[in-house]
Symmetry: D2
Subunit: 340 residues, 4 copies
C-alpha cells in the first residue's frame, strides 16, 4: 500500500467538484464559454474577492501563469521572480514562449519568498536602458514552492516597489487556498488589497480535476487577454466543464475546507519532523533533511515522496493532499519520530 505524499497533483477530485461536473453534463449548452456556468464566473469571483474582477478559466497552472505573464510583459520585458519559482523550474519555458521571448530575472530566495529588498537589488542590477530587457513584472507564488506563505504586508511592500518602478505584480496562486487558510484572511487581503494586479488562481491541486483561472483585478489589464488564451489553445470548447469546477470550488466552500485539512495535517508532520525541518510548515508542504538511508527506509514502508534539490543531497518533500487520510499522516509522523 502506498502512502501518497509526492504531490497534491496525485490526488483525485473531491465529491463537490465531481457532482458539479455531472450536473453540468445533463444537457446541451453553448460552447466556448458562452454557457451559463462560464457566464457566472465574473460575478462569483467578484464576490469572492470583494471587488469587480475579470476571470478567465484555463486547464493548467502553466497556462494560467504563461498567459497572465504575456498579458503583462512585452516581448522585450523581464519578469523578476524567485529562482525556484514554478515559472522558472517547472514550465519548460512557458513564460518565455507565451510572452514572445521575455526574460526571467532570478533572485535567490532560500525560503521561497522574494523580499522587497531583493526586488530593489535585482532592479538596481538590471538598469533599464536600450541595451537590455526591460523589467515589467514581478511574479511571486502564494503559497511558495517551499510551503511558506507571504504575509499581506510583505506583498504590499513588493507591490509598492514594483508599482513605483513601473512594474506590475503577478501572483502564482497554484496553492492560493492553502495560503488563505493558513493566514485566516480574506482572499482580497493577499491580492488586490496588497497590490496584486493579476492572479493565477489554482483549484486543481486542491480538489479539482483540471481547473485554473486567470483573475484580473483591473479589467483594463485584461484587454487582449482572451486572444492570447485562445491562440494558446486554452479556450475549451466545452468550457462549462472547467467553469463548473471553479463555481463548485468556491460556492461550496470546499476550497477552504480542503486547504485547511491539508494544512493541518502538514503541520503535524512538521512537528514530527522536528529539527530535520528545512522550512517552516505553513501550507501543505513539508521539507525535511534526512539521511538517505532513512529516506530509503521510509520508502520501503510505502511512503511516496520526492527528492528535493540535487540527487542524493538528503532533502525531501512531502505534500499533503486535500483527501489525505489522517492515519496516513499519523503513520508518517510515527516513522519520522522513531528515526529522529
Amino acid at each position: 500500500m502506498i502512502h501518497w505524499f509526492r504531490s497534491d497533483n496525485t490526488a483525485p477530485a473531491c465529491p463537490e467538484i465531481l457532482d458539479a461536473l455531472l450536473d453540468a453534463n445533463r444537457e446541451h449548452a453553448a460552447a466556448y464559454g458562452e454557457d451559463a456556468w462560464s457566464l457566472r464566473l465574473d460575478a462569483v469571483f467578484s464576490e469572492f474577492f470583494d471587488r469587480s474582477v475579470r476571470v478567465f478559466p484555463v486547464a493548467t497552472g502553466t497556462a494560467a501563469n504563461g498567459t497572465a505573464l504575456a498579458a503583462l510583459c512585452p516581448p522585450y520585458g523581464a519578469i523578476v521572480t524567485p529562482a525556484h519559482a514554478h515559472v522558472v523550474r517547472d514550465e519548460c519555458g512557458a513564460p518565455e514562449f507565451m510572452t514572445g521571448g521575455a526574460r526571467l530575472l532570478l533572485a535567490d530566495c532560500p525560503d521561497g519568498r522574494l523580499s522587497a529588498t531583493q526586488l530593489v537589488q535585482v532592479l538596481d542590477d538590471n538598469p533599464a536602458n536600450v541595451h537590455t530587457v526591460q523589467p515589467a513584472v514581478v511574479s511571486i507564488t502564494q503559497a511558495t514552492e517551499f510551503g511558506t506563505v507571504y504575509r499581506p504586508d510583505a506583498i504590499a511592500e513588493l507591490a509598492a516597489v514594483a508599482h513605483r518602478r513601473g512594474l506590475q505584480l503577478h501572483m502564482d496562486g497554484a496553492r492560493f487556498a492553502n495560503a488563505v487558510a493558513f493566514l485566516d484572511c480574506a482572499p482580497a487581503d493577499i491580492t488586490w488589497r496588497a497590490g496584486v494586479d493579476v492572479l493565477s488562481f489554482g483549484a486543481t491541486k486542491n480538489g479539482a480535476l483540471a481547473a485554473e483561472a486567470v483573475v484580473f483585478f483591473d479589467a483594463e489589464a485584461s484587454r487582449g487577454y482572451e486572444f492570447r488564451r485562445k491562440r494558446a489553445g486554452h479556450l475549451l470548447s466545452k468550457m462549462r466543464f472547467v467553469s463548473a469546477q471553479l463555481l463548485a470550488y468556491i460556492e461550496t466552500g470546499v476550497w477552504r475546507r480542503n486547504a485547511a485539512h491539508a494544512n493541518g495535517l502538514a503541520r503535524r508532520i512538521g512537528e514530527a519532523a522536528g529539527s530535520s525541518l528545512l522550512q517552516t510548515v505553513e501550507a501543505n508542504e513539508v521539507f525535511v533533511r534526512l539521511p538517505p538511508p532513512r529516506a530509503a527506509a521510509l520508502r520501503d514502508l510505502g511512503f511516496a515522496f520526492y527528492d528535493w534539490g540535487a540527487a542524493g543531497c538528503g532533502e525531501y518533500r512531502f505534500v499533503v493532499s486535500w483527501n489525505q487520510d489522517a492515519a496516513d499522516v499519523e503513520a508518517l509522523c510515527t516513522a519520522l519520530r522513531s528515526g529522529s
Copy 2:
C-alpha cells in the same frame, strides 16, 4: 424547448466517457502523464491504427493542431491549407503562435477538400527561395469544415505531392470518427496508409468532455514535441483524466457508435433539405441555403443553428451531435420539407 443543431461542441459527454472519468478518480495516481491510464495510450492507439504510434493527449483541438504543426513546421516555414480550415478561421492564429511565426498559404476549396492539383498550384505559386517562407506542411481536415470526407486515394495523392516536394502531411481529425464511420474503413486507411504523418485526433465533439490527442505515425517526428506541449501549458498535471477519456472512447467502441449515429441522422436532414443543400452530407454536418425568413421561422420553432458565411447571405449550418434525439431530427426534417 431548444433543438440544438449549433455545434457538436454543445453536447454533453457520453456515459462511457463519464464512467471512465469516475473510475479514474478513485485513488491517487502519478501526475503529468506517468499514471496507468496515460501509460497505456501508445499501446491502445497503436492497436487502433494498426501501427506503432506515439500519442500525446491535450485538452483542445486548437492545442492539438497548433502543437502538431509546430513540430512539423519551422518558424520560417509555411503550411498549405484550405481557406476555410479551422486552423485558419477559428484558432486566433494558434498555428502562427505555436510555430513561432510560420505562414498559412490558403487554397480556395469550395467543398472543403484540397485537391492534389490545388496543392501543386499553391506550391508553384510560392517557389521556395531565400526571399520567402518555405512550404513545409500540408494540413487537411477530415471530415472537412463543410462536412465532406476525403477518400483514401485523395489523401494519398496529396501525400505523394507533399512528400515529393519535401512537405509533411498533417490531418486535423476533430471529426475523425465521423469520417471513418462514413467511409466504413479502418483508421489506418485514411491516415498513415494514405501518407498522413501526424494526426490531430479529436474526441471532444464526439462525446468526450475535453480530450484530444496528437498522434505521430513516425516516432522520430515526435522528438521535441513533449517540450512544445509542456510550454504551451498542455501537459495536464492530472493527465489521467484526459487519458481515461481517450481510452474509453476507443476501447468501448463509442467513438464509432456515436459518429455513426450522428452521421445517419445528418443524412436524413440532408435528404429533407433536398435542393437547398450546399454540400453533400457525408459526416454530421448539413449546410443549406434558405430564404432568411424561413431560417427565422425555424428559429422561432426552437431550432438552434449557425449562420454560415457572411451575415444575411442565407447560408446555414446544422450539426448533429452524438446524443441527438431522433425526434429532434424528425422535427427538423418535417420543417425543412414543409417549406421546400
Copy 3:
C-alpha cells in the same frame, strides 16, 4: 556589356552619400546612436515632413517594415495588405516573426494599390471575434510593387476606413522618393496629412549604400520601438554611418533628384513599350508583356531584367536606377520599339 534593369538594388551609392560617409569617418564618435549625426535625425526629418516625428534608422527595408509592424500589431493581430506586397512575397515571413505571429490578410490588387472598398471587404470577411486574429494594421506600399503610386486622397480614404475600424496605417516607402517625385507633392501630403501612422522610409534603392528608417508620426506610438529594434539586431554600434547617409540623402536634395531622374527615364521606356505595358508607369519600374523569344533576344543584347510572375508567362520587369545612363535607356527603347 550589361545594361542593368534588374533592380534599383543593383546600383552603387551616389557621390553625395559616399561623401557623407567619408566625412563621418574622420574621428571617434559615440556609439549606438548617441553620435552627432544620429542625434540630428529627428530634427531633420521633422522639417522634411513638416511635423514633429521620431525617426529610427535601420539597415534594411525588411527590418524597417518588420519592426514597424511589430510596433503596431499585437501577436494576435492581423495586417491587411495587397497580395503582392514586399512584406508578403519578399521578406521570408519577417512580419510574422517580428510581431510574434500576427497574420497577413491579403487583397488581390492587380495594379498594386489597395482600395478603400477592398479594405472594407477584407475587414468584413474577417470579423473580429475571439476565434480569429484581430485586424490591427493596414500596410500599403508607396510606390507600389507594380510601379504605381497612390494619390493622397486614396491614402486618406484608406486611413479613414482603417482608423474608423481601429486599425493603424503603415506605409512601406522603399520607393517613397519616387512617389513624391511623381506626384510632385510634399512628403507630408502622402503621409501624416493623409492619415499614415508609421512610414518605412527607404533610401537604399535610391542612392544609399544601406540606409532605411522607421518614421513615427505620433511619438506615443514609438514607445517600446527602440527595444524591438535593438533585439532584432538593428541598432548599429557605429550608427553614425547609417545616419550620415540619411542626413545627406535629405539635406542635399539627392533624394528627389535621383528619384526624378529614374522616374523620367522609366517613363520613356514605358512610352517605348506601348501596348505591351502591363502597368501605368508612374515611378521607376516598367512592367511589360513580351513574347519570350523577344525577351531572350533583349537579354542577348545585354539587357538584364527580371521575369515577373510565373516562369515563362511572358511578363517582365525593368527597373531604372538613380544612376541609369540615358544611353542605356535609349538603347532599350529602341530595342523595344523595333520589336513591337
Copy 4:
C-alpha cells in the same frame, strides 16, 4: 580634446576597409548576396580557417549572435553562458527573440571565462526533463567581456563537456582578432580545432564600418540559417558593401595588424595601472579600480571611459581602438602612474 577609451565602437573605419568599400561601389552588381564579393566569402573564410566553412554576413554583432543561437537552439532550449556575456547584458533579449523563447542559463564568471567545471555544474543544476528547458548550446565570448582570452585547451574542455551532453558550442567573436593576436595562434586553433561549432565573427570593433559574419564550421548546421537571417532583416540588398569589408579585413591582414596594435597599447595601460588592475590585460580592454575622485580627475583631463559595474563602485573600463594614438596612451599611462 577627448582621448577616446570608451569603446572600440567609437572608432572610425580603417583605410583598407574604406578603400574596399569605394572599390565595390564602382558599378552595378547583383543584389542580396549574389554579387562577386559575397560569392567569394566562403572560399576566403575557408582558407582563413583552414577548413571548409559557410559564412553569412550580417550588419551587427547582436544579429550574428542571435541568428547563430537560433540556428543551434530550439525554442524550448537553453543556452549556458557567463552572466556578464554580451548576449545577456547588451542585446535586449535578442537570443530569446531570435530563438523563439529559449532561456539563458547563467554562470558567475569573475574573469569572464566559463570553465568546464562550471559548465558541468550548470548542467547538473538543470537536469533535462519535460518540465524544464533543454540545455542545447554553450555560448562563450573570445576575447571575453573582461578582456581576457580563452586558451585553446580551455575551449576544448568546454567543447568536450558540451558535445558529450549533446550541446553545441557557440563563440561570440566580437573581438576574435584580438584573441588570435594575443595567443599568436591560427584562427583554427581556437575555433573548430578546439570544438567550436559556430562563430560570430566580428570586424566592426576592429576597423570595419559595420561588418560581422556567422561562420558555420559544419555546413549541415547552417541548413535553414539563411531564412532566419532574411526574416530578421539581415540579408542586405546591397550585401556587397558588407562582404567587401569582410574580404578586405581578412585579405589585407588588417584584422591582425589592428588587433595587435590595440592589444599592445592596452598592455601598456595595464602596466601603468599596476595594482589597480581588476583583470589581466590580454586583449584590448583594461579594467581598473580607482577612487571615484581620481576617475573624475582623469575625465577632467579629457579621458573618456565607461563606469563599470554599479554606479559609484569605483570600477572603470578603458578600451583601446585599432587607431588609438600612442600619444593618447602615453598620456593615460602617465596620468595613471602619477596617481598611484
